[in-house]
């Protein structure tokens, strides 16, 4: 009898180690003879480094070395384009690497025998800056003639521009009976990992530079580190220890290159652990976005034309802005059919902290605009907002903004209905609470997003399975580089391998996240790992099982899964088949607004998400609840504040307010929808980002329902709500 693991809520393979405190995170690691590193951050938004004097720091007690830009073999890195200096300062071969472009730019590093010695020596480094007026407003920064952040990258600060031209916008608006025009602003969000950036580097037994540091894609980290150090990729080895959250933010590097440089030069282990402040100022955040929309619909409730402009603040460096805003482009009309579309989507360099990948990857911002536009159109038409959405929901074969239909089964209608029905949408309680300043409201929003990498990248993922035993399978070993960032992917991987082999998941050992030992798995991002790893593991396990059945002992097989091909967007129209899969989400949010204080309390969330197949239902619910809490911070409590010079003033958790258990929604009802994708392993789509997508828009709709006021910018802090109500 074979054991069916897929679809079962098996316990997490990493639970016991984490609960007992045995799991080792980057900051927990130590080696004999280890040195400590501290980084000198620029702490200014825009400046030229004229000179750096490290002599006093070098002479300080315990100091082994001080490095500046001149010590970096190839002083550049970046996941999409290498536009970021490893260290900012004079003396590097590449031009313009003496420019500091945000407060968290790194200027020098000190390596010393103790952390305190390194910290003391950092203060002895003398840097002469020529301060430049910082460009903090993307609208100013994109104007012709604005000072250039990257003079080697074109004649303006626009780092990316996508166009959608579909149908005939003028003809479309002629058919519009109602038009809604609005401008929205969405805020920066801090990833706020449980574990700040930290790492340990050493020379391994084969002479490679080993970098033990949390990330999301071992092989991409390895290649970037090797590039900056001027080494062949094989001379660098990236290993992931336990990872305390990533959410997209760990796709871009932070401490890895400088640590590896120090180990390369000193031939000794070197460790660094960032403080919370360093993590808040020193590494990318969710893009702040300005969105302008003019949308029209006909009396019978059909969208006829949309015109939109989206400006994303890319901050100092590209990071993944080109892909993030590409994704905003695809999602900016929501999961709806629109015959005529004009849109321009820009990413702009500014002297703010870089915009980075963050759960949802450009979709939450675009959907905030799309969903509020839908609500306002429905209001103007006198239609129920859910009915209006259903009337316009993408159907199989409908072309999206990019001019082609979604490839896999389009399930937005079923997902909207699932959320509506679970919440009993039409049947809500009384709005006012007699004798109190409290008012209740209910809001709806939907969303969708690609699963997997887009725009012509040939998606691939590697796995290897080994089967041991004689008559029957005694154990199996699964090799896979995919990162466990807390979401439970290793458990799901083990389940899928066990399912193919028909054995208990207890018999599957997983070996993972070492670039020297496994093939490329791609990044744990774009909600792709269940889909991609699942197909790779299924392929490897089936091949190994075939060998097992042919009496091979042990039976070992590798498999590299290639996803269906995609295409990049046409420069002028955006026409493309950019993704091989999408997944769909919808939420109903109930709020209670205190009209005296402006506090918004979320009393209930119904979250429906089409995961195709829930490989592990408990983990699906965990992802939904986690995403809702993270989106709640985005929508209501968190506020990343900078001053007029671009310095971050919310640089601690005492001022950057994450939701606590007392703030989060009182009830989250997860509705797991399973409409299989024929290409997915057992039909699975993806999940990680989905439940995040509609939340802020659903809260805005609920606040409007309660108060009658649309609030175009969030977070919905008490003060912003009261101002919107005209009370202050």
């Amino acid at each position: 009898m074979t054991i069916q693991s897929v679809g079962q809520s098996v316990p997490r393979v990493d639970a016991l180690g984490k609960v007992k405190g045995e799991a080792l995170y980057s900051g927990d690691l130590s080696m004999p003879g280890m040195l400590y590193m501290k980084i000198l951050f620029a702490e200014r938004a825009f400046a030229r480094v004229k000179s750096i004097d490290t002599s006093k720091a070098e002479a300080a007690p315990g100091v082994a070395a001080v490095y500046t830009a001149k010590d970096i073999p190839v002083n550049e890195y970046g996941l999409q384009i290498p536009d970021q200096p490893v260290l900012c300062g004079p003396g590097a071969a590449k031009p313009y690497t003496d420019l500091v472009r945000f407060v968290g730019d790194q200027v020098a590093v000190v390596v010393a025998e103790t952390e305190a010695q390194a910290a003391a020596a950092v203060k002895l480094i003398e840097v002469e800056y020529e301060d430049l007026p910082p460009l903090l407003d993307p609208i100013e920064a994109m104007k012709p003639g604005a000072p250039l952040l990257h003079p080697d990258r074109g004649s303006d600060n626009i780092c990316v521009h996508y166009r959608i031209r579909k149908g005939d916008i003028d003809e479309g608006f002629k058919k519009a009976d109602v038009i809604v025009e609005s401008e929205y602003r969405t805020p920066v969000q801090e990833h706020a990992y449980l574990q700040p950036e930290a790492g340990l580097t050493y020379i391994d037994e084969e002479g490679r530079i080993a970098v033990v540091c949390a990330g999301q894609w071992t092989h991409a980290d390895r290649d970037s580190i090797a590039h900056a150090l001027g080494l062949p990729n094989e001379q660098v080895r990236v290993i992931y220890p336990a990872i305390g959250g990533a959410f997209g933010g760990r796709e871009d590097l932070s401490v890895q290159i400088v640590l590896a440089l120090a180990t390369m030069k000193l031939r000794k282990p070197v460790k660094i652990v960032w403080s919370r402040r360093e993590s808040i100022i020193g590494h990318g955040k969710r893009h702040a976005v300005i969105l302008k929309a003019r949308w029209g619909a006909s009396k019978d409730g059909k969208l006829v034309a949309t015109e939109s402009e989206v400006i994303g603040d890319g901050g100092a460096y590209m990071y993944t802005s080109n892909k993030v805003l590409g994704n905003s482009t695809i999602t900016h009309t929501g999961p709806y059919f629109v015959p005529n579309i004009k849109a321009d989507i820009y990413g702009v360099y500014t002297n703010n902290v870089p915009g980075a990948a963050f759960r949802g990857f450009g979709a939450p911002q675009a959907l905030y605009m799309a969903e509020l536009q839908m609500d306002k159109l429905a209001e103007k038409l006198g239609m129920d907002p859910v009915e209006f959405r259903l009337k316009n929901a993408l159907q199989q074969g409908d072309t999206m903004s990019v001019g082609t239909p979604a490839p896999n089964p389009v399930s937005i209608t079923e997902v909207i209905q699932a959320a509506r029905d679970k919440a009993d949408w039409a049947n809500r309680g009384s709005k006012v609470v007699a004798g109190t300043p409290l008012v209740h409201g209910r809001g709806f929003a939907a969303g969708f997003k690609n699963v997997g990498f887009s725009f012509g990248y040939q998606e691939n993922c590697w796995a290897k399975v080994e089967i041991y035993g004689n008559g029957q399978i005694e154990r199996a070993v699964l090799h896979h580089a995919g990162a466990e960032v807390g979401q439970g992917t290793h458990t799901v991987m083990v389940q899928m391998a066990a399912h193919v082999l028909g054995i208990s998941p207890d018999l599957v050992e997983i070996r993972t996240s070492d670039s020297a030992k496994q093939g490329n798995s791609g990044s744990v991002s774009a909600s792709r790992m269940t889909f991609m790893a699942g197909n790779a593991i299924k392929g490897a396990a089936e091949a190994a099982l075939e060998k097992w059945n042919a009496e091979e002992r042990p039976a070992i097989a590798e498999f590299k899964y290639l996803a269906p091909p995609t295409t990049h967007m046409d420069h002028d129209t955006g026409y493309s088949m950019p993704n091989f899969q999408y997944a769909y989400s919808a939420q109903v949010v109930d709020v209670e607004v205190d009209t005296e204080t402006g506090h918004v309390r979320v009393t209930r969330v119904v979250a429906a998400d089409d995961v195709g197949k829930a490989i592990n239902p408990d983990l699906v619910v965990g992802q939904i609840e986690g995403a809702v809490v993270q989106a709640h911070g985005y929508a209501i409590t968190e506020e990343y504040k900078t001053d007029k010079n671009g310095k971050v003033i919310s640089d601690q958790f005492s001022t950057y307010l994450l939701p606590t258990i007392l703030d989060i929604p009182e009830q989250v009802d997860s509705v797991i929808v399973e409409i299989p994708d024929p290409n997915g392993p057992w039909g699975a789509r993806g999940l990680g980002e989905l439940p995040y997508l509609p939340y802020a828009a659903a809260v805005a709709a609920a606040v409007h329902d309660a108060t009658g006021v649309w609030i175009h910018e969030f977070p919905f802090t008490p003060e912003r709500v009261l101002r919107a109500l005209g009370k202050i």
């Binding site: 910290a119 003391a120 506090h599 504040k641 005492s654 001022t655 307010l657 258990i661 009261l722 202050i728």
Partner: protein, 301 residues
């Protein structure tokens, strides 16, 4: 680099002040350490030579009735204050404030004396003690004479609001003085108090605004009242103008409105870039005060 060289555990107030006076370098008292340790670790306070732990001094950890006063030692952990039934009976505003300071772990360690010594104008414990008209007992070493470790302590009683000079600036000289404890009047008939606050997010951050009221009723008349609001100025704010107006007045919507006007005229609300604007504080203080007042009023029936 050590954050301190010596750590002392005196068992009497006299020993503690002598340890402070005779330390070989910069010395500071420490109790819960929930603020001080962060400051030292994060480099916001320079390293000290000697830390003097006040939590082994019985007088400073006492919480008891003394005659017609309730005594709360300055080193009593906030959570103990929150749970103590005598505090609940005589100083309910302090119970309510203590319950809202930080999270449970911090409350188990942080002390009421530390909350006050930090001299923030909106610390929850401080605002409650302000309305309760507490008196602080402060000890210092007798100066000028060579003292043995067990003698030579001078104690004095200070009105609570005189402990504060400005935001983060205490009138207590931490290098030679120690707050030993607080004396609160016990509650008589028709006397009651209440503390509430408005904050975001719930539970861990500093309040946007907090408020404590102590009052005595004479039927429908306000016989006596203390109102404290934080932050309503650079030090813990007593709304003395509103108090004067309300004394002897019947309590209803109109008198409340006039009292609120007095408060708004007297208070100096400011905009804090990280927390809230002055406009917002001015707008919400009325609702908060009314809520606190109503609760205290009912309790004093």
């Amino acid at each position: 680099m050590n954050l301190w060289q010596e750590y002392k555990r005196p068992t009497s107030v006299a020993e503690a002040v002598q340890d402070l006076a005779s330390a070989a370098g910069p010395a500071l008292p420490i109790a819960g350490g929930t603020d001080l340790m962060l400051d030292l670790r994060q480099g916001n306070h320079p390293p000290v030579h000697t830390l003097i732990d006040l939590t082994f001094i019985p007088e400073m950890s006492a919480l008891e009735l003394r005659g017609d006063e309730l005594y709360v030692g300055a080193a009593v952990p906030v959570n103990q204050v929150a749970l103590d039934p005598m505090v609940g009976t005589h100083a309910q505003a302090l119970t309510e404030a203590a319950n809202l300071i930080a999270g449970p772990q911090v409350r188990n360690t942080a002390t009421l004396g530390g909350n006050v010594a930090h001299a923030l104008p909106a610390a929850d414990g401080t605002i409650a003690l302000t309305a309760l008209d507490a008196v602080a007992e402060v000890a210092s070493a007798l100066s000028g004479v060579e003292q043995s470790r067990s003698a030579g302590v001078e104690t004095r009683r200070m009105p609570f609001t005189s402990l504060f000079l400005g935001p983060g600036k205490s009138a207590i000289d931490k290098t030679r003085e120690i707050i030993v404890g607080f004396y609160l009047p016990t509650a008589g008939p028709h006397q009651a108090s209440c503390f509430k606050r408005i904050m975001r997010p719930q539970g861990v951050a500093l309040p946007i605004l907090n408020c404590a009221v102590w009052l005595e009723r004479d039927g429908d008349l306000v016989k006596d009242i203390h109102i404290a609001v934080g932050p309503g100025g650079s030090t813990p704010f007593r709304a003395t103008e509103a108090e004067s107006f309300l004394r002897g007045q019947p309590f209803h919507d109109e008198t409340f409105a006039r009292a609120l006007d007095c408060l708004l005229d007297q208070a100096k609300f400011r905009t804090s870039a990280r927390r809230a604007s002055a406009d917002y504080r001015r707008h919400i203080v009325g609702g908060l005060l009314r809520d606190v007042f109503d609760t205290a009023w009912k309790r004093a029936e």
